[in-house]
Amino acid sequence: MKQKMIKTGLASALALVAGMGAAQAQSDLVIGMQLEPPHLDPTSAAAGAIDQVTYSNIFEGLTRFGPDGSVNAGLAESWDISDDGLVYTFHLHDGVSFHDGSALDAGDVKFSLDRARGEDSTNAQKGLFAGIEAVEVVEPLTVKITLAQPDGNFLFNLAWGDAVIVAAESIEDIKTNPVGTGAFEFSDWVQGDRIEITRNEDYWGTPAKLESATFKFISDPTAAFAAMMAEDIDAFSGFPAPENLPQFDADPRFKVLVGSTEGETILSTNNAQPPFDNVKVREAMAHAIDRQAIIDGAMFGYGTPIGTHFAPHHPDYVDLTDQSAYDPDLARSLLSEAGYGDGFSTTLKLPPPSYARRGGEIIAAQLREVGIETEITNLEWPQWLEQVFRGKDFGLTVISHTEPLDIGIYANPDYYFQYDNPEFQELMDDLQVESDPQARSEMLKKAQRIIAGDYVNGFLFQLPALGVAKTGVQGLWKNSPTQAIDLTGVSWAE
């Protein structure tokens, strides 16, 4: 009798819990991501995690990226471009307000852009704004931007997370309390654990379907797998362990989203450090590397081989993988030609992601085959940024460059891999002012060929966007045209 009562009690408690779960599931989403942002100001740091949390959710720009990488209208509902391509007049949406209630006007746009391109700006992508000569407020909702030279990429540049519109009133606390115009507003940040955002009920555009969302930071791949399997989280963006994906795929509770990112994964080579200043040595390394083995071994088959620093899904991509095809014999003879017949040894510094750690071990074994000994050092992110990215104290490293259309980094001789080719720099300067699409396309193709021909870095593969979600979650971006986890269109299936 007593047992029966307990059973009934249990059953009703269970039903209650289940009912609550179902009710919550309709409007709330917990999404896992691997890295926690250092702060929440996308306009003053390079960390991709900041954009992932804030892009489109909290902050918006004049233009915005769509899920396919296209550039769409954002806070600017329309714009006029002068015939000489120098003056852009943006017409802002009416009735847009920041989360603190203040209205968006042309002054905020001027403030944001002037702040981003200012002398003391810490914007990670200052190059995006380099062409701007002046930003003028014409009317409360009209802003005029004058460029020094025509820039065919200007609308694309403004869609970046680094170019979002912020307000002067709330700029002080932006790193811990970001106030934007997006469909979600920031509500809580438990350091080391999660960031919560809630729906902006006064949003100017199509309101978000989710009432609230939580970004949960799980850096350990095993913990991510366990949290997903236990259904503690509803989705995971950038799932760190590709070896687990077949298991999710086979499980009817989950779906696997395999897309592509803008991340060119490369064996970054210190071009200023001997022997890598010798193009023959770099060519030899390019032929010593078996891309398919790296993709199979490090990424469990996910990833597209690349032969240059360009995304394969881009219409201007040139497939140059054959130019650096796997050929260890050729690599050995090239090394002899370069005077390194007996090989040499160098350092291989690896950041934490598994593509780098595992890929690095595979590359080390492949280089050893042709006589190049590497000393592997595994680094945490801050050490990697300090030693490799800022200190340029490395021989080789494995890293994915996740910014869209970032071939321009090869024109900067001070960039950490220190490639210095005046011909390429000139080409990039010309590209900057070219607005004819046909000519631009030709120039981009030429640029890809130059860096592939100089074997600047070992071009490995395009990093896949690997996501896992519960079957009922709809509207997550499959591809990652920019570093974003855009939740504005996400909903649960009825």
Partner: protein, 282 residues
């Protein structure tokens, strides 16, 4: 009578023999790996990755297609080398310190040495080892130093306590009367009589050293790739545990059995060498 004596000897040796056998098995594997392994572990064979145990690969292959048996054999070398040198550091510095402290019991020297040891003891050893490797960089050498430092107080205390009881013995008194100085007495009369203690403790510390090395490698602070290490094999297998349990089971078993073997051997040696614990028989 003889039968009973034989049974007693066997019963006493019940932990020594299996312990020594297990230890020898892994030590043998480590030595053998210097000359021969079933496969070359520096060559990756991605096409054959994550294979379950088979005739070709008795313990299967890992995520790079390397033979796990070969990895465990070479990994034994890493573990044993790290633990051996670490115990060597501990003994080499700890024993002289302990002898000196005992010889000058109650003096300032004694106080300084023993309080210094207490200081080292006060810190959780693995945590400090992580700190040392984090500051000076992750490598097998730094792991050895970190583990070695924490062996020093163990041996210093043991030596001191063993030596203190010996200093009251008549033969030590005789040596003193004969005019030998404290240093000579420590080396000629005390040290030989604490050797038994040291051997037993050395075995235990050796097994702890192997555990510590595995722990440090597991968090990525021990031997760096491509040098195989049991701890890192476990870490590598972590995300694949449901996919390929053999990748975790075999290195885990290697750690377990080696540590078990060393502990059993330590117990057995103590029974054999320590007269106070030796059973007199029924």
């Amino acid at each position: 009578m003889t039968l009973r004596a034989g049974i007693t000897v066997l019963a006493q040796g019940r932990s020594l023999l299996p312990g020594a056998a297990l230890t020898l098995l892994f030590a043998g594997a480590a030595v053998l790996s210097l000359l021969w392994t079933p496969y070359d572990i520096t060559e990756l064979d991605i096409a054959n990755k994550i294979q379950s145990p088979s005739a070709a690969h008795p313990l299967g292959t890992d995520h790079f297609g390397r033979d796990i048996l070969s990895m465990i054999m070479v990994g034994a070398r890493t573990s044993i080398a790290v633990a051996l040198v670490a115990v060597g550091i501990g003994m080499g510095l700890g024993v002289p310190l302990g002898l000196a402290a005992a010889a000058r019991k109650g003096s300032l020297l004694d106080e300084v040495i023993m309080r210094g040891n207490d200081l080292v003891f006060a810190f959780p050893s693995l945590l400090i080892a992580i700190m040392i490797t984090a500051v000076f960089g992750a490598s097998a050498v730094n792991a050895i130093i970190a583990i070695g430092i924490f062996n020093i107080p163990v041996f210093a205390r043991l030596t001191r306590s063993g030596a203190l009881s010996l200093w009251t013995r008549d033969y030590v008194l005789a040596a003193r009367v004969a005019g030998k100085n404290a240093a000579r007495i420590s080396v000629e009369h005390i040290l030989p009589n604490v050797t038994n203690l040291l051997i037993v403790q050395g075995t235990i510390q050796f097994s702890l050293g192997i555990l510590a090395e595995a722990g440090l490698s597991y968090v990525g602070l021990g031997a760096q790739p491509p040098i195989p290490s049991w701890g890192r094999m476990l870490a590598d297998s972590q995300t694949m545990i449901s996919l390929a349990p053999h990748m975790a089971i075999f290195p885990g078993m290697a750690i377990l059995l080696t540590v078990l073997g060393l502990n059993l051997m330590g117990d057995g040696l103590r029974d054999l060498l320590d007269p106070r614990l030796r059973r007199t028989g029924r």
